[in-house]
């Protein structure tokens, strides 16, 4: 009974959906400071009356047990309750029902650079962030050189963080995080940002940590990383554990479902649009604008995105990522990919965007599309994994017919000239 590092029994977490939006609307109504006091009173009253807020169980009756030393992965769609589960286990929020028993010192890494302050130097931030993440001062001092070396920014440790590039900040943040030594580590999606080489280094470090016998609960949309790192995977769906078992089998079952060709995704009610950025709709469309999920190889595939922006976001990029049935990323495309132009700031409002995957580019097969909005190397606003899926049913070019190697089958312009006649 007590041998598990994490023992969760009948855990539930309820949110009142109206709660957050209520605060927002109250704020919106206040335009001048002079009327603040009276608004405050009406607002308070309104809150008491407004008990009709709908209730949402982000987690419901979750049972699971992670033995000591296991590295378990947590997968599921957005709004499935993965992050909520981590937040409950990390004690950021209290459960509404059930309980969890944690055996050992627990540390959480739900964000990179938690507690960083731009005015402080790199060195000072290592101490501050380390302390916030639960390290002792002596422990940080002892590991400081190692952290500095790992971060690859040693030369700038006495420079204020605000002068760092975002990549440098990320490295420093990861370096601190990688040296946390709790017995149980909760990790959320932090590997979604940063450059590939450094990502690999961090994954490597995490693998090392795992081998030291620490218990890790790891949430990620990166199914490749999940399969590589975890021996066991839990699939959360609608706030419950849908499947629990060996990594490979759960991931493939999850992917299989992802490919039940959905031409359209609309924001579910369970996924309240509370952030600064939120997707409302994603659709796969044919050239003529019809929603479909079946394409001929010689037709272009259009992906339409509808999203809302609540606050002016500068540098925010919206992108898609296309994966094949094996989970291999075919390509990633962003709305600000042209070199030399930085992304125009996105002002509050609703946006409609379309991106076209050219004809004769994808080989026949199933594809799933991830859509995301992020501030490159800084933060991720929203990721909808497997938002839509489509299938290329017939080859669009000869390249797709003869079984040659390669994941894409583009028709590329060839130019061939005979320069010299053959000598007889």
């Amino acid at each position: 009974m007590h041998s598990a590092a994490i023992q969760v029994e009948g855990l539930g977490k309820r949110y009142r959906v109206g709660e957050r939006e209520h605060y927002r609307s109250l704020r919106d109504r206040i335009s001048s400071a002079s009327s603040a006091a009276t608004r405050f009173l009406t607002g308070a009253k309104r809150r008491a009356v407004g008990s009709h807020a709908s209730v949402l169980w982000a987690l419901k009756d979750v049972w699971l047990s992670v033995p000591e030393g296991q590295v378990a992965g947590l997968i599921g769609r957005n709004g499935a309750g993965k992050s909520t589960l981590l937040k409950v286990l990390a004690r950021i929020t209290k459960p509404t029902a059930g309980f969890a028993r944690i055996r050992g010192r627990i540390g959480s890494l739900l964000e990179v650079g938690t507690g960083f302050h731009p005015e402080l130097t790199g060195r000072e931030n290592v101490y501050l962030s380390g302390a916030i993440l639960g390290m002792k001062r002596a422990e940080i001092a002892r590991k400081f050189d190692e952290i500095a070396a790992f971060s690859e920014v040693e030369r700038f440790l006495d420079t204020p963080l605000k002068h760092y590039s975002s990549g440098m900040q990320m490295r420093l943040a990861f370096a601190v995080a990688a040296h946390l030594e709790p017995e149980i580590l909760l990790v959320d999606e932090v590997l979604a940002v940063g450059d590939t080489a450094f990502q690999r280094k961090c994954l490597g470090k995490m693998g090392e940590v795992a081998q030291e016998g620490r218990t890790i609960l790891f949430v990620s949309h990166n199914l490749g990383a999940i399969t590589r790192l975890c021996s066991r995977v839990l699939w959360l769906d609608g706030g419950r554990v849908r499947m629990d078992g060996a990594a490979a089998s759960v991931v493939s079952a999850y992917q299989l479902e992802g490919f039940s060709h959905r031409a359209q995704w609309a924001r579910p009610a369970s996924l309240a649009a509370t952030g600064d950025f939120s997707f409302t709709e994603v659709a796969v469309q044919s050239r003529t604008g019809d929603r479909t999920s079946l394409f001929d190889g010689n037709e272009p595939v259009n992906i339409g995105l509808v999203y809302g922006v609540r606050r002016r976001l500068s540098g925010c990029q919206v992108g898609i990522r296309v994966l094949n049935a094996e989970g291999v990323v075919i390509f990633t495309s962003g709305d600000a990919d042209f070199l030399g132009t930085s992304a125009a700031p996105k002002d509050p409002g609703h946006y409609r965007a379309t991106v076209q995957i050219p004809a004769c580019f994808l080989a026949p097969g199933s594809y799933s599309v991830l859509v995301a909005a992020h501030l490159p190397e800084r933060s991720v606003y929203e990721v909808i994994e497997g938002a839509v899926a489509f299938e290329i049913t017939a080859p669009g070019s000869l390249a797709a017919l003869d079984g040659r190697l390669g994941v894409v089958t583009p028709l590329l312009p060839w130019s061939t000239n005979r320069c010299e006649e053959a000598q007889p």
């Binding site: 308070a44 938690t114 002792k136």
Partner: protein, 304 residues
Amino acid sequence: MNLETLEVAEAPCRHLALGARQETVASAPPVLLLAPRTRWLTVDTREFWYYRELLYFFIWRDIKVRYKQTAVGAAWAVLQPLMTMLLFSLLFGRLAKLPSQGLPYPLFYYSALLPWMYFSTTLQNTTSKLVENQHVITKVYFPRLMLPLSATLCGLVDFGISFLMFAVILSYYGVRFAIWPGLGLLYFPILLLLTILLALGVGLWLSALNAIYRDVKYVLPFLLQFWMFASPVAYPASLIPPKWRWLYGLNPLSGVIEGFRWSLTGRGDLPYRQLALSAAMILAIAVSGLAYFQAMEVTIADVV
């Protein structure tokens, strides 16, 4: 009921004494039970002790950041009360000719501005503390009480600096007019403690409220302005007509500030009864603030 069973299996600093309920497993790491909140007013001293370094780091960060962001840094702690003192001396003293208990105006005002400035700046900092740190609150656990507490303690640095300035002013008048604090100075730590407790108590209320209603931020400047004029900062409490004294006494700061003036300058009397009432009210505010803060704490990451 659950605290007594806690056994430290490893070195104390490796041990995580945790919030909710705890139980012991023989020679095993600490066990933490996460369950819906059931009790009110629980301060887990063990947990607090474990996180003491974080409190230090929060205070250290705030001081460091402020000194990096301001040109004159520490001088603000002196300039603010000094300028206000000059303004009050000129306006309320020279022009309005308000009584000052026989004290030179600068001394009369500075001795009251000392606690008032601490109280008002600390309250402002404490109130915004939770919202300011929302990105940390939603990403990692630590006793949330650390945040308002750090703001309250951080203000003491400024208080110390402006107190040095007061010592200079006092020495000047001491030498010239033989105004020295007497044994009343012994009350100074108690009065300071009451001020800290009041700032913390009101701060706990407001910081938790501010997390739900950002309106608090807008109300606060008015509240502070009102509160200052409802306290004997710019005038002596003796100016209040006797029949309104009881109402005036409901302001916990009035007794404290009068007490400060008495303690630091040796003039006037210690308003014993008033101070006892203030102390009782401050205690009530602090305890209720703590209870409210803790009730809020549970959902703070969900609403902030």
